[in-house]
Subunit: 112 residues, 2 copies
DNA sequence: ACAGTCGTGAACGATTGGGTTAACTATTTC
DNA sequence: GAAATAGTTAACCCAATCGTTCACGACTGT
């Protein structure tokens, strides 16, 4: 029973990768630009980008006029799924019964 | 420049801790119940709960009629903040200029 | 007072994850 | 064809993390 947000959260846990996501909010960037912007080496960034790719957070495309460069862009789906999950958690507080639930444990008999 | 979602994402990256959050969506639980539900040892769960506490995802309270047991409950704030961040990222696609941005890199001159 | 329960803390071992440097491939440029 | 560039892969090191077991302090019930 493994949720779809599983990989997403793991990918976003790393501050460098979250920085990449924040950078790509602006526009697509090429791999080397991302590495420079985050002040990390290209091999290190290459592996971060692979993680982001495998979890579907970004997609890569080739630059038509120069087949060496890879341009990275955000993908929508995992973020939508993550927001869904967060909203489900937030439903905890909008629930009418929440106040009751909060005290359910306190009213519990000592030895059930 | 460290975002507030930083700790939140790190805390949620662990599947056990995310499972705890999913469990607590239902109602507050005591520490030992959480450990049992997640099928992990109590010391291990104790440390997970400490992480969740320090990042503000849960709060602990004492059971009035038995000062030994600690009841854990979700806190709203970090989830709201996380949703905010996700929504900011999602704004990427609702942006009118997004289609243009997507191609900006492609149209880039070879040697700027 | 004593035995049992709840939860935490400490010490150990194993695994994972990220960074670095050094090749290596593919492509472009002259 | 030779040199330069973009990016990835590979091999290694280090630090952080998670689980386990054992011990402890706090509290409870008889």
């Amino acid at each position: 029973m493994k949720s779809s947000v599983d990989g997403t959260l793991a990918a976003l846990a790393d501050p460098t990768r979250r920085g990449v996501v924040d950078l790509l909010r602006e526009r697509p960037y090429r791999a080397s630009e991302i590495a420079d912007a985050m002040a990390t080496s290209r091999p290190a960034m290459s592996r971060h980008l692979r993680v982001l790719r495998k979890t579907g957070l970004v997609e890569e495309r080739e630059l038509p006029e120069d087949a060496r460069v890879r341009v990275y862009q955000l993908r929508q789906k995992p973020f939508t799924e993550l927001r869904s999950w967060v909203e489900e958690v937030e439903a905890f507080w909008s629930d009418q019964l929440q106040a009751f639930k909060a005290h359910a444990e306190q009213r519990r008999p000592r030895r059930p």
